[in-house]
Amino acid sequence: MAYSQKVVDHYENPQNMGSLDKNDESVGTGLVGAPACGDVMKLQLKINDDGIIEDAKFKTFGCGSAIASSSLVTTMVKGQHIEEAEQIKNADIARELSLPPVKIHCSVLAEDAIKAAIADYRRKRASQAAAQ
């Protein structure tokens, strides 16, 4: 099995690797893991008051496909509204990267990470609203 050129590109030249301040009220953090392979992925989204994703960063410990999937989603979600980003499906990621069937779970992980990050942001906003 060979990785597709797109996986190799993202793996060798990952986009938006790094982290954002997890205590920032406008930052949602998603930390997810794939029990089948032991990979962990952290995705952070900085979201403005209009619900637009202004910045996205990731850190992933896993195989090339997991790194490429997380790198790809950061490029996809930047500039999107959170409701739009929530619609991203793992199949979109898998198709874009031409992932083989055994690596589909990496794209599932990336989809889960987006959802977890947005859920975390919403939780923060809700507790902020409750405090006011």
């Binding site: 930390l31 029990p35 089948a36 032991g38 850190k59």
Partner: protein
């Protein structure tokens, strides 16, 4: 799993060779490692026990014993041999051995596996982050975590044995997949700590 009766003499068979007529049995479509090696399903298994069972079974089903025999028999010998080799590998790895007991297969499903405890994922992430800076501290923490997991798994599977070693999916095994998944993450960390042994 019990094997179907012998197709030739209809005796109940305990292994690959019929006790009634000595016929090599066809390989069942779903062959679990316990049936393949003739071992009682259990967590506490020494590598030497597995090797012994593998050696005995391999002798019985080795394709060399079926040279010149009917094609169906030669096919069965190859199938049993593959099954026996695979079973040895599956039972030697603690994670797949535990999964065979808990969910009746040797690997976690790609989707819909156990939901991981967020605190545990946090711990894994922080260990991965600290690995390059302070490998000794990470190694110590990983060893400790691994030992704790083994203790938890041991007590879980001994409670399961006391319940009469029920088949996969039993309530006494409900916590096993998540613990075994944690073991997977810990092994992943260990592989990064000892790249040459991975």
């Amino acid at each position: 799993m019990s094997l179907p009766p012998c197709p030739a003499c209809h005796e109940a068979v305990g292994g690959p060779i019929c006790v009634g007529c000595g016929l090599l049995q066809p390989v069942p479509a779903a062959l679990d490692p316990w049936t393949a090696l003739g071992l009682r399903p259990r967590w506490a298994l020494e590598p030497a026990d597995i090797d012994r069972a593998w050696k005995e079974r391999s002798k019985l089903v080795h394709p060399d014993r079926f040279v010149g025999k009917a094609p169906a028999l030669r096919r069965a010998a190859l199938g049993w041999t593959a099954g026996v080799n695979e079973a040895r590998r599956a039972l030697k790895a603690p994670m797949s051995r535990g999964l065979w007991l808990a969910i009746g297969q040797g690997a976690l499903p790609e989707r819909g596996g156990p939901v991981m405890d967020p605190d545990f994922l946090d711990w894994v992430f922080s260990m991965q982050m600290a690995l390059d800076e302070d490998p000794a501290a990470v190694a110590a923490a990983v060893t400790e975590r691994r030992a704790a997991l083994y203790t938890a798994l041991q007590s879980l599977f001994s409670a399961w044995e006391q319940a009469g070693s029920p088949p996969p999916g039993h309530a006494s095994l409900a916590a096993a997949p998540a613990l075994l998944a944690q073991l997977r993450y810990v092994e992943q960390l260990q592989a990064r700590l000892e790249p040459t042994r991975a």
